[in-house]
Symmetry: C2
């Protein structure tokens, strides 16, 4: 059996500082061009040349303001603040490419399912079936505060609300318009046959959606579903719904443990555990030789912002790191965020302490994720090792000096991986879900919860 | 003084049947391609060749289900049902053009201002200042029902809520980031200067938005603002906020009365009444000769759907026309919608009655608006007459057989209007607001209510 394909996603956000903070100052960085279409179109074309499955666009709905209790540090380094809407970028990139998929982050907490279902269907129409949705529930207090919530909804309750949200959008995507509802019959003057379009009649706890879906069905109907949370509630949600899972771990053995957990839970939900695809975040610094790559990495590192890293981690951990002693190990702080982070770091390297200063230094170019540095052969060896030891399906490649890091990867690493038969030379299939599950598998698998809402129910009507 | 420029908008919705119902069956119609990027990109290029100010994309957030109390007739003719999201089309068309503007319909009733402000800023970034917003408050009960409202909000209350919505988005667009907040200073490591980015601190009746805008400012900041309502509350709203007004009248003298009303109200708000631009909807059927144009019109008319017209008008008038005697004059029906419509029709032609059957016949190809049929010279004469007699600024050109009707207009009528010096040969200015107010006028006028929220306040700080 030939070794499995390495599946590639690229990670971006429509902002200045995302995983690597401060590198916007590097002379080669075009991070500040995030507002320009040409920048995104060029990125999409680079990724399609590299046969990437998809570009993953992250998002944040509020400014990062935990550090020092204000937004200043985030503004100084452009850390997800400012940030623009990711959905509005897609159609321009779709027009400039033919196969690249797009996985876009949208929070179920701040969308109305009726409107949101139409957004995804519209994008699936316009991309000819290349759209994916990264489901998030929005942890930022600043988002809650500005988007009409009196208080942030507790974490597990957000996931409970998200469960009903999924039910509604599944009904709209799978259970409203039959496959042959649109007949476009000029002779009889019927565009859509009303007897094959059904009101979904949803009356739940959080949502009431009685009527038919506003959009006719798209190629994939339900977009490819991604999830990134690794809390217990997040993992359970991923096991039920996710087809792609973005993970963030520091060593392959840590990835394997997490992947194994979620696959087992998916099996418990009646799903094929191998149908879930796991992508671990990684930053790749590549050059023709190991020496040149090391030099490049050192050059990038010189631009990393220590304060920016603390500001970003303060938001991730929900604690103001500026208020702590920079040289005191964090383990004395009694919050869930800190405990989780310290536990994670300790599993990574239990020979050292983790102080705020050490964290800031560690984050650097990789944003807290692993950084692979070396020649194309060295990097390819490492990626293959991660695949084997981590039991993952591919990678989520960060872009600290956009679009240079990604272009280096496509020009240097992808050809090496293609030589090894690990990356496609040409796309197989035309829709994002086919890249995941094989040519022909454009719709969600029969055992996926979305499939349960299909109309007519399988076998319910013969023709 | 040379006669004023005729300002052109084109009218579309991402749907099958919009103004002219049933014409999707015409062999030349590509209305069903509304889900494809190529169709929209081709449309945008046609309009840019014709130096149109903007493409106006309408929207509906619920299915049309008043006729017969169900959605069947709307589905059979694709009357705004199905309909896709208009915002998601823009970036692809923006990438394929350099000057064409985009006026997009979004309902303030179903958006959170914090998120919505970011959407418009993102589009203004991506289009380099070519975005406009057609402000609607959503009259459809079907939208209210599926989008989380127990009952439709009464009309005038929707406008009161919209007033606060405008206040919030003005603060976000004009009053959060100073012009020189983004310094991108590599030496000091400052991307944005926190002292020049201000939380808006909005705590109102319907919205709480305490923090800074998520997006850095775009070229126009506030998008060009459009409005289309002609109720008393709608006119008052237009007089305060609108820079472009879409109107729908059947004769130039009726347009003049309406325009004069709104301009006077705008003057009462302290605005230059001539700074408001009025565009009346019109369908143009043009061919090299009057005879050929008449033949083309007769051909199109043969495809008009009478039932579809009634279904559309039922939704517009909020009354089920299927329940009425098709041959009884409508004047006996006691509802506001019917009274308004009958009054309008009677002003148009008081020599006849208006029964449901007569309305359906009248709607035909023009969707209830005027249809100009003839050679390029004939049509140009009529358009010039409308301009002079109606005191309007231009037209909102419908596209009953898309994109053929628009292409005919650009290939046949625009050159004739250019010969007469009434349409640009080249765009003057680069942003949509400059097309409205002249080169250099990229920001809202000082007397516009949005300008009152600028920071720093004019004269408040010297540099």
């Amino acid at each position: 059996m030939s070794p499995p394909r390495i599946r590639l996603h690229a990670l971006r956000q429509s902002t200045v500082g995302h995983t690597a903070i401060g590198l916007w100052r590097h002379p080669s960085s075009r991070a500040h061009e995030y507002r320009e279409l040409d920048y995104w179109i060029e990125t999409a074309r680079i990724l399609e040349r590299g046969c990437f499955d998809a570009l993953f666009i992250a998002d944040a709905l509020g400014p990062l303001d935990v550090y020092e209790g204000r937004v200043d540090a985030a503004l100084r380094d452009g850390i997800q603040t400012p940030t623009d809407d990711p959905l509005l970028l897609i159609s321009a990139m779709a027009a400039a490419t033919r196969r690249l998929g797009f996985a876009v982050t949208v929070s179920s907490t701040y969308e109305r399912p009726y409107q949101f279902a139409r957004k995804m269907t519209t994008l699936d129409h316009l991309t000819n079936g290349r759209i994916g949705w990264n489901i998030v529930t929005s942890a930022l207090d600043s988002a809650a505060r500005n988007l009409g919530l009196e208080h942030q909804i507790p974490h597990d309750e957000r996931y409970a609300i998200a469960e009903e949200f999924m039910e509604v959008v599944y009904k709209l995507w799978e259970g409203s318009w039959e496959d042959d509802a649109v007949v476009r019959d000029v002779a009889s003057g019927v565009f859509a046959d009303p007897s094959r379009v059904h009101p979904i009649g949803h009356h739940g706890v959080h949502h009431h959606v009685p009527d038919i879906a506003l959009s006719e069905p798209s190629i994939q109907r339900t977009p490819v579903l991604y999830q990134a949370g690794t809390s217990p509630a997040g993992k359970a949600f991923a096991a039920r719904h996710a087809e792609g899972v973005f993970i963030s771990t520091y060593r392959p053995d840590m990835a394997r443990a997490l992947v194994s957990d979620i696959r087992a839970a998916a099996a418990g939900e009646g799903r094929d555990p191998r149908s879930l695809r796991f992508f671990t975040i990684v930053t790749v610094i590549v050059a023709p030789t190991d020496e040149l790559a090391a030099e490049k990495y050192a050059d990038y590192r010189a631009y990393a912002s220590l304060e920016g890293a603390l500001a970003r981690y303060s938001a991730l951990m929900h604690i103001d790191l500026s208020a702590l002693d920079p040289d005191e190990p964090l383990s004395y702080v009694e919050t869930d965020g800190i405990r989780g982070m310290v536990e994670l770091f300790t599993r990574l390297d239990d020979t050292r302490t983790w102080t705020p200063r050490e964290i800031a230094g560690f984050v650097g170019v990789g944003g807290g994720g692993p950084v692979l540095v070396g020649s194309p052969e060295t990097v390819a060896d490492e990626l293959e090792r991660w695949m084997a030891e981590g039991d993952i399906d591919g990678f989520n490649i960060a872009d600290p000096v956009p679009p240079v890091t990604l272009r280096d990867f496509v020009e240097l690493v992808v050809p090496e991986l293609q030589r090894r038969g690990r990356v496609w030379a040409h796309y197989q299939g035309e829709t994002l879900r086919e890249y995941f599950q094989g040519p022909g598998a454009t719709r969600v698998a029969p055992e996926h919860p979305a499939a349960g809402y299909r109309v007519p129910a399988p076998g319910a009507r013969s023709r």
